[in-house]
Amino acid sequence: MVITAKTKISKIIKHDKKVIDVIASINKLFRKLKNPILCKMLASRVSVADAAKIGGVTTEAFLKKLQDSGYIVQFEKPVEKNISEQKSNHKIMDKSNIVKLDVRPILAGGVDPFDEIMKTLKTMNDDQTLLIINTFEPVPILNILKKRGYVYDTERPKQGVVHTYLKKANAPAVKETSKEKKADEADTFENIETRFNGKMKEIDVRDLEMPMPMVTVLEELEKLSDGEALYVHHKRLPQYLLPELENRGFKLVTKPVDENNLKLIIYK
């Protein structure tokens, strides 16, 4: 088969499974393809050009790598138009009224965040902007939303963190707010850890029998004063606790250490 910028990744994988390894070697972001769920959800929806964008490399570089590994590829003119189109989006983007959605914990739980993003969009007004925080640009979802009249803009505040701003295209454009502030507020584990430095209570629930981990966490949360956060050593992502945290308006960032060790910071 001849691979072009428009070829769907899923088609290449269907043709030859080993291509996953080749793509994974391009960039560490693509290593996620080895995760079957991500592979399934990404590969079926993205083309080579999209994939290159997700990984932050040029389409040419992507195709070149495939060519080096023995695949037959056909290069095309660089997609400059795309970039200018994005630039213009950039200007009309209103980033005041932001609703933030960090999809990384969802992905970490092995779930496709598509539904969650759609659900959140439904609850929003047209003058609000959705900020999706992820480890890559969620091109498949963006492609679908573009057709539904959304515009978007992406930023990479740091290595491995991608902010995507999404907004209804016909909504009135308002002045641009400072982007730096948003970047600082990114809900990464490290950022949250720094933000609550010295204002965190630490508990270890790994040696407790269920439901005591959950009870302990929730009891401690009730005791927290404003502006404080809870740092939890846990054995796994606490499935029963998550909905309850959401009900109580708490947010959470996680950092896995190994199979039986997960760090959580729970904050408001």
Partner: protein, 436 residues
Amino acid sequence: MQAGLSTKNAPSPSVVLPHFAFSALMFLLAAVVMLVAAPQLVLPYHLNSHMLTLTHLMVLGFITMIIFGSLYQLIPVVMEVKLYSEILAKITFWLFGSGLLILVYHFWEASFGLHQNWFWFEVSGTLILTAVVLFAFNALKSAFRSERMDMGNIFVVTGIIYLVLTVSLAILMIIDFAHPFIPASVLDLLKMHLTLGLAGWFLFLIVGVSSKLMPMFLIIHKLQDHLLKYTYYLLNAGVVALVTVYYLYPEPWAIMLSTLPILAGVVAYLVYIRYAFKHRFRKNLDTGMKLSKTAFILLAITVVLGIISMVSPEFLSDYQLNIDIAFIMSVIFGFITALIMGQTYKTVPFIVWLKVYSAKVGKQKIPLPQEIYSDRVARLHMQTYFVAFAFLMLGELASQVWLIQSAAVMFIVTAVLYNYNVFKIIFHKEKIIENE
């Protein structure tokens, strides 16, 4: 402003709880059947309608039903995925429950003579097979979405495949009874069915689930997972070999040879469990865990009976059939029953507690899961259960009807007490503890 917390993986309690209720009632019904059918339970032949009623009430009604319910709860938690379909789970419950009741009623009524009408067996068999296929579809579809394919999950998935095989073979047997077409003896088919069901479905499932739950309940961080791997290969080799041998070459030496890997697999599993109990952080065991520990001791007894039944030494030849039946009974009424009763107390209270109290944890003083059932009743039925099991084993080995009747009475007492607690948990109403 949620940060993607809605990983609401746990299924609705309305999916899970009916399984536990139904299962508990079937245990009670089985105990009553044991009392009424006691004289038939010592008869020297296998295809005995009362024996079949009793065993199927236990293995399908009590055991398989509770496994279905537990798996719907467990798959989402340990595999970190959402159950594929809750509606499918509810449909499965009704198909399976009705199929089972039709089946056991017609087992009870059957004569298995020349004029036996097989129609209702075909109907109930089809209902059960449909339910089992739907269950397998639902469970496997969920499991394959999981990224966490460790040994425990692989055991569960394999067990489910054996369940489908067990029930499929049963259907073939029913058709074969009505219109003979299988070139193997009924007894050998029955043994294949038994092997697939007990060593395939139950054993794989129990090993898989317990490898997840024991560390959770006993609080232990590092287990000897290589033992699980040995268990997996040994059990698979044994089950496949034994089923093949029964069908193609049912000679005693071949049967004995293919049983060896199963026994070795069980021993490896027991060593694994022993390690977990020895190295646990949680030193004092509650009633649920005591019952579970008993189950593993009973499994060791079962292994011994299994070895005797398999080797069939000359001096015991008069008792061969008694030992065979005692062996089967000890698997069903011993190991598995004790484990289920124990694990019921570790899981059902938590499910109900979560439903009733999760929004109040930390805000109000609330009871803990272990406080919403009567531990006194649980300890009591643990005692009555020991007596019941001992009577049953003695009764089967000595072919004494009165011993089996005594066992049945004790099982009824056990089942009534167990039901009392199960329903007390299921119908638990919110109770806020007042500050004294």
